[in-house]
C-alpha cells in the first residue's frame, strides 16, 4: 500500500470520528455553529484527501455533503434528525470504503453507484425552495426553449432542435467567438442573445468578459448537431423539440431530467473535482439508462466515460449524453471504447497495524536505549577485567552492580514499551453514542449515553477487543433494561433513559461500568427460565441468592426476551461477553436494582502483555500457570486420587476437583507418574476448580509474553511463551482452553 493511501486511511478515520461527534452534538443543539463548522471542515478535508488518492466517487459524495452543510450554514436549510441521519449515512458509506481500501490498497472500483445514490439523497435534503438540480434544470431549460418557441410560426414549424450556448466568461480570451459558432449551427432558423443576469452599467462593463447566453433553433435533428456541438461540450445544451424518430426507445421524463442534470454537472467548469464530476455524471447516467431498460445505451455511456477519464476530458461523454436525450445513440460496437478489462484489485495483506504514539514516549525509549548502552559497556569492561583480575571478590562485586543497573533499566524499558501500546479508552467509547442513538431509535426508545473516563488508558489489545462485548452489553441494556417512554412515564421516570459508560483505573486493573436507569433484571423471570431451560434445577434455583440468580444471565442459553426483538433475544449476548472478557484476563459481573436499573462491571488487567505466572515443570518442560488463576499448590497423597468417570479427581475441602496430568494432557508424558505424593497446582478456571499434576512447582515470575506465531500459533492450551534465564522456553498455559 503506498504511503499516501496509508496516511489517507489514518486521517480519514479520524475525520470520520470527528464529524460523527460534531453531527451528534449538532443534532442535540442545532444552534451550535462550532459543531456545524467542524462537520463542514471534516467533510471538506475528507474531500481533499480523497482527491489526493484519486478516489473520485468519494470526492463527489463529500462535495454533496459539503453543499448541504453550506446551506445549513447559510440558514437556507434546517438541522433536522433526518438531515443528521443522512449525513451520518454518508459517513457510514465512507467507513465502508475505508475498510475496502484497507484491504486492497486502492479505492473500491464499484464506489460510483453508491456515491451517486448518496449524492442524490443529500441533494434531496437541500432547501425546498430550490429542489433537486435535475428538476431545476428541466424548469430552467423549458423556459429558454419556450422563449424560442415564441418565434414566428413558420420558424417554429421547422425547428426540430433547440440549442443553448453558455460560453465561459473567458471565451474571448481563449480566442473563441461564440457568435461565429452559432453562425455555423447546421439548420439555424432562429437566434436569440441575452445576458446572463442583468447588463452591468457601461462604466463597470468589462468588454472582454463574455456574459452572453446564446440560444437558437435548428431545423436539423439533434444528432446531426453532434459534430457541431462536440467541441463546445460543457457549454452547450442541445434539446430535441419533438421525438423525430420512433424506433429508439423513449426515455421517461424523470430519466430525462436526471440525464439533463448530468449534462449540467459536466458543464460545471473548473479543474477542482473534475474527475469526480465526470465519474459521477457518467455513472448516474448509466444507472438511469439501466433502470429504463436500456442496458446497451448504458454500456456505451460507461465505455465513453472510461475513455473520458483516461483522456481527462468531458466532451465525448457530454456528446454521448446529448445523443441519448435525442434518442439517437448508436449502440453498435464502439471501436474507441477500450475499457480496462477488470478491476485492478489484488488482495493485499490486511494486517496493516498502526499505532499513533505520543512523541514523549518515544523520547523516553531513546533515553533508555542510551542508558542501556552505558550499562552494556560497563558490563563489557567488567568481563574483560575478569580475564586479568585475580581477585574474584572484586569481579563479583562489579558484576553484581552492573547486573542491578541493567535489571533496573530493563524494568524501565519494559514499562516504556508497554506504554507505547496503551491507548485511551476513548478510542472504543466514542463509537458508542452514535450506535446507541440508532439502537434506541430502532426500538422506539429514548436513550442518552453519557461517557466518563474516556482518558483512562489500557493496552491496545484490550481497547480494541472491548468493542464487541460493550456493544452486547449496551444492546441488552437498551433492549431489555430500558423501558419504552410511556412505561417510564407511568412509573415517574423521565422519558429519556440515561446510560452511563464509565472507565476507571484502579492499580493494575481497569474497571468499566455500564449503568442504566431502566427496570433492572427481573430476577424471578431469570429463575423461571433457568429451570425451563434446564440450566439449573428448581431446588438450586430456589435456594440461590438473588445476586447469584442475576449472575445466571451470563450462562449460555439464557435469554429473557419473550419475543425476539430486532436486536437481542437470539441467545447471543451476555455469555459471549463473559467469554470475551475472560479471554482478556478479566471478569464481568452484574448488579441489579429492581425497578431502578442495572450495572454491568468489567474488570480488566491494565495490560495483557505482562504476565505473572507460577512456574511449574512437567515432563521436563517448564510451564507457567497464570497467577491470577492460582488457588493453591499442594502435595497430595496419591491415595486420595480417585477415578471419576473418564478422568481422575480428588476432594479438597469438600469440593470435588478434577485432576489433570499436565504432561499427559500436553502429550509429553511417557510413563505414568508414580511416587507417593503428587504435586498439584489448583487453579480456578471459569468459576470451577481444576487440579494440574506437575513434576515440580517452581517460583513466581513476571514474564513478558511473546505472542504465538507460525507453527505454534494454533497450539491449544498455550497463551504465549517466553525465554527463561537458562535459555529454555517457558510455555504459559491458557487454562480455559486446557481444562475447559
Amino acid at each position: 500500500m503506498n504511503e499516501f493511501v496509508e496516511q489517507f486511511l489514518i486521517e480519514a478515520r479520524e475525520l470520520v470520528q470527528q464529524s460523527t461527534d460534531d453531527l451528534l452534538a449538532l443534532e442535540a443543539d442545532p444552534s451550535d455553529r462550532e459543531r456545524l463548522d467542524g462537520a463542514f471542515r471534516a467533510f471538506h478535508t475528507l474531500k481533499g484527501g480523497a482527491g489526493i488518492v484519486e478516489f473520485g466517487a468519494m470526492v463527489s459524495a463529500m462535495h454533496a455533503a459539503e453543499d448541504l452543510l453550506a446551506e445549513v450554514s447559510a440558514g437556507a436549510c434546517e438541522v433536522t434528525p433526518t438531515l443528521i441521519s443522512e449525513c451520518l449515512s454518508c459517513i457510514d458509506l465512507v467507513l465502508l470504503w475505508l475498510d475496502d481500501m484497507q484491504r486492497t490498497g486502492e479505492p473500491p472500483a464499484d464506489a460510483g453507484r453508491a456515491a451517486d445514490a448518496m449524492v442524490a439523497r443529500l441533494r434531496q435534503m437541500r432547501s425546498r425552495e430550490v429542489p433537486e438540480p435535475a428538476r431545476l434544470a428541466a424548469a430552467d431549460s423549458s423556459d429558454w426553449v419556450l422563449a424560442l418557441s415564441a418565434a414566428p410560426a413558420d420558424v417554429a414549424r421547422e425547428a426540430l432542435t433547440a440549442v443553448r450556448l453558455t460560453p465561459d466568461p473567458d471565451s474571448f480570451f481563449e480566442g473563441g467567438d461564440p457568435l461565429a459558432k452559432m453562425a455555423e449551427l447546421p439548420g439555424l432558423v432562429a437566434l436569440h442573445l441575452a445576458p446572463a443576469g442583468e447588463w452591468p452599467p457601461l462604466e463597470a462593463f468589462d468588454p472582454f468578459e463574455c456574459r452572453l447566453v446564446l440560444t437558437a433553433l435548428s431545423a436539423e435533428p439533434a444528432e446531426r448537431l453532434a459534430e457541431w456541438s462536440a467541441p463546445l461540450a460543457g457549454q452547450v445544451e442541445v434539446r430535441s423539440l419533438r421525438s423525430s424518430d420512433a424506433d429508439q426507445p423513449h426515455l421517461t421524463a424523470p430519466a430525462r431530467s436526471v440525464i439533463e442534470a448530468q449534462l449540467l454537472l459536466l458543464a460545471e467548469g473548473g479543474a477542482d473535482g473534475f474527475d469526480g464530476r465526470l465519474a459521477s455524471a457518467g455513472r448516474v447516467a448509466a444507472n438511469v439508462l439501466r433502470r429504463e431498460g436500456l442496458p446497451l445505451q448504458a454500456d456505451v455511456v460507461e465505455r465513453t466515460l472510461l475513455g473520458c477519464l483516461a483522456a481527462k476530458e468531458a466532451g465525448p461523454l457530454a456528446a454521448t449524453l446529448e445523443r441519448v436525450l435525442a434518442g439517437k445513440l448508436a449502440v453498435g460496437d464502439d471501436p474507441t471504447a477500450a475499457g480496462p478489462t477488470d478491476s485492478r484489485r489484488t488482495p493485499h495483506d490486511s494486517s496493516i497495524r498502526v499505532l499513533r504514539v505520543d512523541i514523549e514516549r518515544v523520547d523516553a525509549l531513546v533515553k533508555l536505549a542510551g542508558e542501556l548502552t552505558v550499562a552494556k559497556n560497563a558490563l563489557a569492561h567488567a568481563a574483560s577485567l575478569a580475564d586479568r583480575e585475580t581477585d574474584p571478590k572484586a569481579i563479583a562485586a562489579m558484576l553484581k552492580n552492573q547486573s542491578a543497573a541493567v535489571g533496573r533499566l530493563v524494568l524501565q524499558l519494559q514499562q516504556a514499551v508497554l506504554n507505547l501500546r496503551v491507548l485511551p479508552l476513548r478510542q472504543v467509547f466514542q463509537r458508542f453514542p452514535r450506535l446507541v442513538r440508532e439502537l434506541a431509535g430502532g426500538l422506539g426508545k429514548s436513550v442518552t449515553l453519557v461517557l466518563h473516563g474516556e482518558g483512562v488508558e489500557a493496552d491496545k489489545v484490550i481497547v480494541e477487543a472491548l468493542f464487541e462485548p460493550l456493544l452486547h452489553v449496551l444492546r441488552n441494556a437498551i433492549d431489555h433494561g430500558v423501558e419504552a417512554p410511556d412505561a417510564r412515564a407511568a412509573t415517574g421516570k423521565s422519558a429519556n433513559a440515561l446510560i452511563h459508560l464509565r472507565a476507571e483505573r484502579r492499580g493494575e486493573h481497569v474497571i468499566i461500568e455500564v449503568e442504566d436507569d431502566g427496570r433492572g433484571i427481573d430476577v424471578d423471570r431469570v429463575r423461571q427460565i433457568a429451570v425451563e431451560r434446564r440450566i439449573a434445577d428448581s431446588d438450586a434455583v430456589r435456594t440461590m441468592s438473588d445476586a447469584d440468580v442475576v449472575d445466571l444471565i451470563f450462562t449460555p442459553g439464557i435469554s429473557t426476551a419473550s419475543g425476539v426483538t430486532a436486536l437481542s433475544g437470539r441467545g447471543v449476548g451476555m455469555d459471549a461477553v463473559r467469554t470475551a472478557v475472560s479471554r482478556l484476563g478479566g471478569r464481568v459481573s452484574v448488579e441489579s436494582r429492581s425497578g431502578h436499573g442495572a450495572t454491568v462491571r468489567i474488570t480488566l488487567p491494565f495490560t495483557v502483555v505482562m504476565s505473572r505466572v507460577m512456574t511449574v515443570e512437567a515432563g521436563g518442560q517448564p510451564f507457567g500457570v497464570p497467577l491470577e488463576a492460582l488457588v493453591e499448590t499442594l502435595r497430595l497423597p496419591r491415595a486420595r486420587i480417585r477415578s471419576l468417570g473418564a478422568g481422575m479427581a480428588f476432594v479438597l475441602r469438600d469440593r470435588t476437583v478434577p485432576l489433570i496430568d499436565l504432561s499427559d494432557s500436553l502429550g509429553a508424558r511417557g510413563a505414568p507418574a508414580t511416587g507417593e505424593m503428587a504435586n498439584v497446582v489448583v487453579a480456578s478456571v471459569a468459576g470451577h476448580w481444576a487440579g494440574l499434576e506437575v513434576d515440580r512447582v517452581g517460583e513466581r515470575m513476571d514474564v513478558m509474553l511473546s505472542p504465538m506465531e507460525g507453527l505454534l500459533a494454533g497450539m491449544p492450551g498455550v497463551a504465549g511463551t517466553t525465554l527463561l534465564g537458562d535459555g529454555r522456553v517457558l510455555i504459559v498455559l491458557d487454562l480455559e482452553a486446557l481444562v475447559g
Binding site: L179, L193, P195, F205, P207, R211
Partner: protein
Amino acid sequence: MSVRARSDGVIVLTKACPAEDAEPLLRLMIERPGSTVDWRSCEDVHAAVVQVLLASGATMRGAPRSHFLARFVAPLLKQAEF
C-alpha cells in the same frame, strides 16, 4: 481599427470587427450614450462587439452585409428609424 467616430457623431463599424474593437466601441458609447452605429459594411462582427452593442443599447443604422448578421443579429438590436 474598424471602429471610428464620424464627425457627425455616428460610430462606424467597417468590414470585419474583431474582439479588440469591443473596447474602443465601449468607450465611445460611454462618451456619447445613445449613439447610432452604422454597420452597413460589416461582414463579420465578433461576439464581444455585439455584446457591447446589446449592453449599450446602441441604435443600428442600415443592414450589415453579412447575411447571418442581417437575419439573426440585427433583429436583436435597436433599429434606427428613417
